[in-house]
């Protein structure tokens, strides 16, 4: 157990430091982009003072917008103070699922850029079943989720089959499939079954009450049961990778497909099934989003859940647990960024800069190690067991 904790500490160290570094630099950006702060550049002490105050206010607003807002707690009930945390989790929930989709693909050696398109098909499937049928609640939810998963798994699986059969590169394929999905949803929202009665703009009917995921903390908070689905999916991905023969094949192909093939593992099988499962995960993300918070399909239902997923998976080092944490962080930044913008006038874009910086540092570990004078992970240990002749 102690071993496990220290191992986790080792893996989490780099993301944590990258995180700290990104926030420091963002702080400087916030200060230097504020005209009131810049006006005081003549007197250094005043300048630093007001700079720090601005940074402090911005980050306080970020916290208020993502975790806990004392004003809301005072105004209504204490519980309502957690409205921001609820928003964080609501944003993070679909992101966990799309992040897992990209992470699992990573582990099989595949770059799934297609979570966006898969998400869209998941949303379409769940939405259609959600508003078209009238079923008992649990069954309705399961049926809608399943429709989303299956549709998206097929969408992802097509990429897998194309790669397995023709050797086409999955990055190109998934990017193109994203375009197709993006325009497909524009078209389908104009077709009769998806047109909301009485509306002419592209918006689908709301999913029935029986197909909505139950709210977890009353009517005033949006947090819904989707977070449990997301966490269960993370557990599923962990189990699949660590405990099953299928996961063994996935990881073997991901780490050295040539050796895996030589040992009799079918690479086409791995490619196809990975893409199908990844599609299913991202699709479940779309379904949960529709059933949990969006309720109705519109042209922008997918937002950037599928693209942020790539960053989330990278930040989570393609580990299920890491992906969950990374998605929660991104959810917090998104939710908090809105409050930061409205409360302090710090533009929302600064949050995107922070996200980009975190990922930049993760991708450049040598730089972070250099700044914090970290030694390379257990270099002496690997040297001693490796020998020194290469």
């Amino acid at each position: 157990m102690k071993n496990l904790v220290s191992k986790f500490g080792q893996t989490a160290k780099l993301p944590a430091l990258s995180f700290a570094l990104a926030f420091s630099i963002t702080g400087l950006l916030i200060a230097f982009s504020d005209s009131k702060v810049l006006a005081k550049i003549g007197s250094p002490i005043e300048f630093i003072k007001s700079g720090l105050a601005t940074i402090g206010n911005a980050y306080l607003a970020l916290f208020q917008g993502s975790i806990f807002d004392i004003n809301l707690a005072r105004g209504n009930s204490f519980f309502q103070g957690f409205y921001p945390l609820s928003e964080t989790i609501v944003t993070a929930t679909p992101l966990i699922l799309t992040g897992l989709s990209v992470a699992l693909a990573f582990r099989s050696g595949l770059f799934n850029i297609g979570a966006q398109g898969q998400f869209i098909f998941g949303a379409i499937g769940a939405s259609y079943v959600g508003f078209h049928f009238n079923l008992p609640t649990v069954i309705h939810i399961l049926f809608a989720a399943l429709a989303g998963i299956v549709l998206a798994a097929i969408w992802g699986g097509i990429v897998g089959i194309l790669k397995a059969k023709t050797g086409a590169h999955e990055v190109i394929l998934t990017i193109m499939m994203n375009y197709i999905a993006g325009y497909f949803i524009l078209w389908i929202l104009k077709t009769k079954p998806f047109l909301r009665p009485g509306r002419i703009d592209p918006i689908a009917p709301e999913v029935g009450l029986s197909a909505r995921l139950p709210l977890l903390a009353g009517e005033n908070l949006r947090i819904h049961a989707g977070i449990f689905i997301a966490l269960a999916s993370a557990l599923f991905v962990w189990w699949l990778l660590a405990k099953t023969t299928i996961g063994f094949k996935f990881r073997a192909v991901g780490a050295n497909s040539q050796a895996a093939r030589t040992a009799g593992i079918s690479v086409p099988f791995v490619v196809t099934s990975t893409m199908a499962i990844c599609g299913g995960l991202a699709g479940l993300g779309g379904a949960v989003h529709v059933m949990g918070s969006a309720h109705a399909l519109n042209t922008d239902v997918a937002g950037s859940f599928g693209f942020d997923a790539i960053t989330v998976a990278l930040l989570g080092r393609a580990q299920p647990l890491g992906t969950v944490f990374a998605a929660l962080l991104f959810g917090a930044l998104r939710a908090g960024g809105r409050t930061m913008q409205s409360n302090t006038g710090t533009p929302l874009d600064i949050v995107l800069v922070t996200q980009a910086l975190i990922v930049l540092f993760i991708a450049a570990p040598t730089f972070v190690r250099f700044i914090f004078r970290l030694k390379k992970l257990s270099s002496s240990a690997s040297l001693t067991s490796k020998g020194w002749n290469g």
Binding site: T244, I246, Q258, T262, G264, L383, G387
Partner: protein, 504 residues
Amino acid sequence: MSLELRGITKAFGSLTVNDSIDLKVEAGQIHAILGENGAGKSTLMNIVYGLLKADSGEIFVDGKIQNISEPSDALSAGIGMVHQHFMLIPVFTVAENIVLGHEKIGKFGVLDIESAREAIIRVSKDFGFSVDPDAIVETLPVGIQQKVEIIRALIYEAKVLILDEPTAVLTPQETDELLKTMQELKSKGTAIIFITHKLREVREVADQITIIRRGKVVGLVSPDTSEGELASLMVGREVDLAPEKHKHEIGNPILIAKNLSVRDAMGTEVVKRINFELRAGEVLAVAGVQGNGQSELARAIVNLEDHIEGSLLLDGKEIRGLSIYDSLHAGIAFIPESRELDGLVGSFSIAENLILDLHDQAPYAKGINLSVQVVSEQAEKRVKEFDIRLQSVSDAVSTLSGGNKQKVVIARELSRPIKVLVASQPTRGLDVGSIEFVHERILSERDAGRGVILFSTELEEVLALADRIAVMYRGEIIEIVDSKVSKEELGLLMAGVVKSKAGS
């Protein structure tokens, strides 16, 4: 010019990899450093070349103490090094590679390649090389690429040349060529440090041999020391260089190839309508110069190649066209040519690598559940049985030495019920002790009545293990000979020279 090392010591953590090593090389002398993989040879040379810093000890050139902390210090002291893995940029020409890092700027700020071209031609003439300065490096054979490295060292006036395992990547012909080159350099007064673990080469060219074992110098001997003595000094125990081949009954044909052809991705026939019969209890060696279709033939037996024609019967059943999985489980063990690329998943644990082929079978799997417990228990057994030296079966296999890696591959392949063992270059890059182990294993499979088909470019290996030898040349088996064939005859056959046959 002479190079002398006194008391070089280097430790990584608690492990002393060079323990007060003394060494002296004179001008016009070839000094071989012989040692197993992991004995500390490369560390020592990396210290001399300034890639690593010694904890203590001194380096003298011509009696003067040198402070070498970077390769550029070594170069200016007249020490050049040819690394085992070439430091060449494949898409550059020879001349461009040679000026790399020493770029001179000519008129109008243009890179001066011309003087490098002239230098290459001059050095080539002096030492009898034929290297085209304008050739793109990646189009050159490995042996020539190595010469480019040597030329680079000579152009920058290296008087002491370190060759780190230079023959590991060469074919026998290229090796002979290199040994000649070394003699040539020696006669022109260059001092050469020749690092290797191959006994024959050492005895052929070295003037003096320093043997290193576990970081210590264990002997300074002359080249007329016998191979057996050298080997036991290196390994620290008696080594059986020529494994004993028991006479025994050879059984029925177990693997029959009929008109077997392999095409590469471009559609070229790289194996051409080959016929052979492998019998139970024999070692059929397939000899040939690298690149004559042996690799493809070996891979074709387990259906790893994509375009195979003809017929391949295992114990009477057609196996051509089966999936790789089915071929392996029909009873073929396959030791691939490159254990790093094809044999092992480097980041996987040793235990996981041991079940790469069996992970979805009992007792490792129940349904789709993989029993981590059973996997590591079985791994412990294999590790004992095959004497794999490691710290823990859950360590990444990439932490093992070459010999132990190969043992993992062999342990895995021999833990299925098999009828035929296909071994492709099974001892490439291994040290004497590991080679001995691999040879013993191959012969014990033969003695147990399995058919063994051995692909090797090492003549000694072929002659020591084979019952019959098939020689491949340009994709064809041009002759199948008895193992009593002489080395010279075999060499000629490998070069494509066939004795005139009646009626053909």
